[in-house]
Symmetry: C2
Subunit: 443 residues, 2 copies
């Protein structure tokens, strides 16, 4: 069965998808679950679902299904399980490690039709969302409640996708990553059974009941199951937020300031670092006039007054042009450079700017390249490998917040060692003995 | 082999431990690893290691070993694995769910001789500790660094034991539990191999590299392996701490105030609730004169001034006698009632006071009973079962921070359901196929 569909895939993409025999029966079974409009074999749709926002090439699935409920996901997964077809979950496609490519063909589960916000409990600070709900749409939904969900990876990713990739972002210093903010998951396993990692309907703010299945699935990148519901911890919107920006004579002085601010126990929500190349790009992109030097953007949540301590620390480290912003408009203007860093970088070529979530020791190099220039792609690949190995040589990780996906599997082995890989393979084999769930990723 | 030792166990405790044949050979193998003084079969030592601080009866192991290094733990575990002897890790014995009882006999690994604080990285805010290092001893060690480890379950537990039981406590509102603060674990598996959950020597503040093995072992209560090193996240000691206490006319008004303070995004570190019975006990125990009504103790970390917002919220809910404390001496005096609650409760009989970490929705009932009165024990047992089922019926958990151990296995099944139990059993079977690691606990 698999080979049938895969054969078609390899004779595609230019030939129309021809349904014959076994293939037709599988497609027909999918349609009986999700309707005609819930199953697509069209090339354009398949290609849309074979690629994320990374440089990894498009590897389209054979079929894309659009389930409307967990029951449909379960029924579709059972069909895949019976026919041993790979399953690739798809949220918004905003990942950065090639996690959605259909390496072995198979069936992409696009979850965008499941877009309900369920069970908001304002007094308990939790909410449950389906996989089509994105970070921004949840925060819009919450607007009048005084609550928010602060994990912010930049992209308007789906929250279930963020759980699947263990996403984080600028607010992690204060609020943690998805690991710290998922209370429960509903997961459809490879055989179609529906698991609730913390028990059905449960939403304990804190628990020590049995093995932490929730955090086994957070960051599993679709290789252990399809996340169909995520219960999230919410926070009160801080009564006040104060932002600041400061220029530094060197990267070292900016980093030293960061360490000292954290050591002083100043309750900071974000500390973002931008290097001189990034600042130059931001200035040009947004017509701003920040000093073209290493720069820190800081934000304090819930403070009633400015944090003089932080300003003093930066001054002691040679920082200058320290600017505070208290009202929302000034804060937005001040943060605009940081928020648009990604797009500013895209407009910059050549160049390799650096943007760092230095408050949690994590930084990004934004390398703008021509994907059609194979020599350039190769040089960038060598650079990123060297960069990751440098992080590993300093006791760090090759991936702070984007996961392993397709691109970092060799680095994962170096990072955790053969026994940890063996343990991960054992867990994978326990939950997905036929290796149907997003095969070829992570391990 | 196991039955040999177990037979001895059942003819004990009053008979001396007689070594013959196979038993002698095992003991001799242990001694060749850890020396004569590293192996004990004496009844007193075994009984000390068969019980924690809960009401569960003492179930002594057949032998207690005192390894001095991870290599010794590994070598001893290999002997146990070869002879299929149960392994029960032991830290400080301060657990509250009967986790250290040797239900099937076997070998207790008392880890107190491994007591080094290793690899403090002040600028990276992390430290690695061996299993003999307790929470208080780590904070003493850190005293001159300006850093601290804030997770505080009350008892001066070992940090590796706190990782094993997923401990938390009063500071969890701001700093999280062990789940959020363990960066890496060194674990000796059932077959004696040494696993580093995040890779050997790694200490990433944030990572999304592969499956989260660290949090699979956090809270596994010794049933998946023996934790021999824990790498912990540290924090800067807040530049200032401000405490407050406030009395309320009812439990509801205290709870409403808590919810509203959290909704307001006030950056609070602790919110502790004590009911009237508890306050009365505390007054009597410490010769204090607090109002005998439902009471909140609050603490704000890193604030430069008092949080008027919190005071206003409590007043709106009928709170009175709001008292602030800024200097350390006044703060200590104010918190004394809360800190001594456990001992105050022990001095109280009959009575059932309540102390709650209401900031994270978790509370304790402290029930003082006579363990020799079987009727009373039975009534208390019925009450605690009803209490846990009430929590479950409200979408909560049967155990916020003490784990499952021996006492809550049936409740765990109710909480997570049969499929999650099956998944947990599958994970256990993958990591410990012979069921040697702390058998009879959790599952």
């Amino acid at each position: 069965m698999t080979s049938f569909i895969r054969a078609l895939r390899f004779t595609s993409p230019r030939l129309p998808f021809i349904c014959t025999g076994a293939v037709e029966r599988v497609i027909s079974a999918f349609r009986s679950v999700s309707g005609d409009e819930g199953v697509s074999v069209g090339l354009a749709v398949r290609e849309q679902h074979g690629k994320d926002e990374s440089v990894h090439r498009c590897q389209p699935p054979d079929v894309v299904v659009f389930p409307r409920s967990v029951e449909e996901v379960s029924a579709l997964a059972k069909i895949c399980h019976h026919h041993q077809l790979p399953i690739i979950p798809f949220g918004t496609g905003t990942g950065l490690e090639g996690g959605v490519g259909a390496l072995k063909g198979g069936v992409c589960f696009s979850l965008r039709k499941m877009e309900q916000v369920l069970d908001l409990h304002q007094e308990d600070f939790d909410v449950t969302v389906e996989p089509g709900v994105t970070r921004k749409s949840l925060n819009s939904y919450l607007r009048d409640t005084g609550l928010w969900f602060p994990v912010d990876p930049g992209a308007d990713a789906s929250l279930c996708g963020m759980a699947a990739t263990s996403a984080s972002g600028t607010n992690a210093v204060r609020y943690g990553t998805m690991r710290e903010n998922v209370l429960n998951l509903e997961v459809v396993l490879a055989d179609g059974t529906i698991l609730h990692t913390a028990g059905k309907g449960r939403r304990p703010r804190k628990t020590s009941a049995g093995y932490n299945l929730t955090n086994l699935f957070v960051g599993s990148e679709g290789t252990l199951g399809i996340i169909t519901k995520t219960t999230l911890r919410l926070y009160g919107i801080p009564e006040s937020m104060v932002s600041a920006v400061c220029s530094f004579p060197s990267v070292q002085s900016a980093v030293d300031s960061t360490v000292q601010i954290l050591q002083a126990g100043v309750p900071i929500a974000r500390i973002e670092f931008l290097d001189d190349v990034m600042m130059n790009a931001c200035n040009r992109f947004n017509n701003l006039s920040y000093a073209v030097t290493p720069t820190l953007f800081l934000e304090f949540h819930g403070e009633l007054q400015k944090h003089g301590g932080a300003e003093e620390i930066t001054r002691d480290n040679g920082g200058s042009d320290f600017a505070w912003a208290e009202d929302e408009e000034t804060r937005s203007r001040l943060w605009k450079a940081r928020h648009d860093a990604w797009y500013a970088a895209l407009a910059l070529r050549p160049g390799c700017p650096i943007a760092g979530h230095v408050g949690d020791g994590n930084f990004h190099c934004l390398i703008v390249l021509d994907p059609n220039d194979q020599d350039e792609v190769q040089r960038v690949h060598s650079f990123t490998e060297r960069l990751a190995r440098r992080a590993l040589s300093m006791d760090g990780t090759c991936t702070g917040e984007h996961g392993i996906g397709l691109g970092k599997r060799a680095l994962l082995k170096e990072e955790v060692g053969p026994l940890a890989i063996e343990v991960m393979q054992g867990l994978k084999a326990t939950l997905d003995p036929k290796n149907l769930m997003n095969p070829g990723k992570v391990l």
